[in-house]
Symmetry: C3
Subunit: 255 residues, 3 copies
Amino acid sequence: MKFNNKFHLNGDNIHIGENVKIGDNTVIYDNTLIDDGTIIANDCIIGEPSKDYYYNEKYSNTTTIIGKDCLIRSHAIIYNGNTIGDKVSTGHRIMLREGNSIGEGSRIGNYSELHGNVKTGKYASIHSNVCIVENSIIGNFVWISPGTILTNDFALPSNNKRSPIIGDYTAIAVNCVILPGIEIGVNCLIGASTVVTNDIPDFSVCIGSPGRVVSDIRDFLTNGVNHYPWPYNFDKGMPWEGLDFSVWQESLEHD
Amino acid sequence: MKFNNKFHLNGDNIHIGENVKIGDNTVIYDNTLIDDGTIIANDCIIGEPSKDYYYNEKYSNTTTIIGKDCLIRSHAIIYNGNTIGDKVSTGHRIMLREGNSIGEGSRIGNYSELHGNVKTGKYASIHSNVCIVENSIIGNFVWISPGTILTNDFALPSNNKRSPIIGDYTAIAVNCVILPGIEIGVNCLIGASTVVTNDIPDFSVCIGSPGRVVSDIRDFLTNGVNHYPWPYNFDKGMPWEGLDFSVWQESLEHD
Amino acid sequence: MKFNNKFHLNGDNIHIGENVKIGDNTVIYDNTLIDDGTIIANDCIIGEPSKDYYYNEKYSNTTTIIGKDCLIRSHAIIYNGNTIGDKVSTGHRIMLREGNSIGEGSRIGNYSELHGNVKTGKYASIHSNVCIVENSIIGNFVWISPGTILTNDFALPSNNKRSPIIGDYTAIAVNCVILPGIEIGVNCLIGASTVVTNDIPDFSVCIGSPGRVVSDIRDFLTNGVNHYPWPYNFDKGMPWEGLDFSVWQESLEHD
């Protein structure tokens, strides 16, 4: 129904792989590679030109790469210069400014925006309506919940900027703010509506505004159960799904 | 101007009632019923197929019903399986995932998203940019203000999920977070940026992070006046508009 | 690429200036003036009709004015009755309800919405995903960061409404809430996730929930440096760019 070959290829050097589906009204700009098996739904813009395009006749897009077996839902705007890994899926109306690198298997929810040059690891789960400032670094298997904002300006407005770094396996609940330049370690849990104002060590539970570390995550009980580190107790959509996390980790080390 | 019969019916079993207007570029998928007098503006998607559609040739939409005299503003995405009551109105760019049931007279604001199987009562007013997790239950005449998020995961990420329940006539101010499984009673007021961490009894005023009950709403003064329960003092757009709320309630009981 | 003359002029009394570019699929309704040198990207709606349009055959748009040398990025919805100054630029998918007045050089970020009759001064920088209630007054050179919400209802829901006023040069960080009727003075800094519950004097630093004034901004150090008032230390995109702010101010006074 959605795939009537009514999409538009606007420019040169557009490579479409095997078994790719592209939805109606989607526009793909020049210097874009879409790899095998990927689905781009309707009304998307892939390789959206940068601002200079509007004013400079000699403007040329940098390369946009969408990996294999991705699902880009409708109305996404993905600027030129993004590199999207294999098996990435997105919600509707996402906004990726220039130069992000999205790791394999990651997810980006409805209305979320990455402001550019953001790097995510593998299987990062960025939910709806998340705002991630340019140059942020998001680890592997990180969860970022709806309404959370990562910031980078130490003195609004200033040129004194540094972006947050979020460690592997860390989960950030809804409506949090991560202040400029903050580094959050691996395997942390940041509670709902927390404002993270200091660097957070590995394996910390941090809550409140300003956020304070209240527990080691390995001692933290939810409903009387020690759930964390979560990979041992949750596998849905993860590469260790149906396996034991420890076994999966060992298999990686032996690769 | 908007209604040039340039909409698209994509599939079978689409029933359009009397005096329905459908805007240009709107796409309506199979198994959709749009009842009399409803207006669907331009660039909407009604009956958006579920993810399985992209991968399964035998995919079939479940039924989507839009009631009478609704106004669905432009760029809405309404997945298949929603049931929208009569006289519902929406803002632009709303997102309804599968299986929500929206009560008569309810409103859903710009950019708001219901993640699926959400049930709202009658005349629920969900403002802009609200994020409501799947399976939430929203009562009659509930107000939810911009930026508020309802959550359901007790240990991010986990399979231990339960969604909030919001009682009739309760008003939730901007930027609140309702934690998983929380039940908020009837006739409550939740202040701006509150994080509701415990069940809230009927007629409570709850503020802060973590939220604490600070007053019975019947004793709560705003600008020196006791406004609550609000239905006695506010009727705009409500079914008791121009009547006395008590009289209206009695008329219901005698029906 | 984007400009193939596939836009739509829907109605009478549409004036397009010199050197205007209008993107594909953009719709411009009646009674709209677009001044010289402005670029309106693809898929925008300019002069979106008010609700009455759907029900009243005699409906007529009020005038929409877009000034000179603006850049309106794709998928903007700008209702009829807006007046946009010269050199305004916007992100994607902004939403301007009726009757806003946007000062010269201002910026409005992706997904942000102004609910109507909002007045901004010159060079107001409203970032992504900001929600500004109707009738708010935003000064010159004001910064409002992502996720911030301005409110106007003293007793949700009520008819007792008054909108905030934000003074010149004030910077509001991410995820703040400004309560109804609050007046924030000039040259203030409102920290991340602050809930502003009282009027704030000029030159204040206000943080927390509820917000409290913790410093005079002229005594406030960020990373050991006194950055504020910021115009003396930041000029990117400002009319005093490359000049000294004091010199620029004096030049204005001598005009």
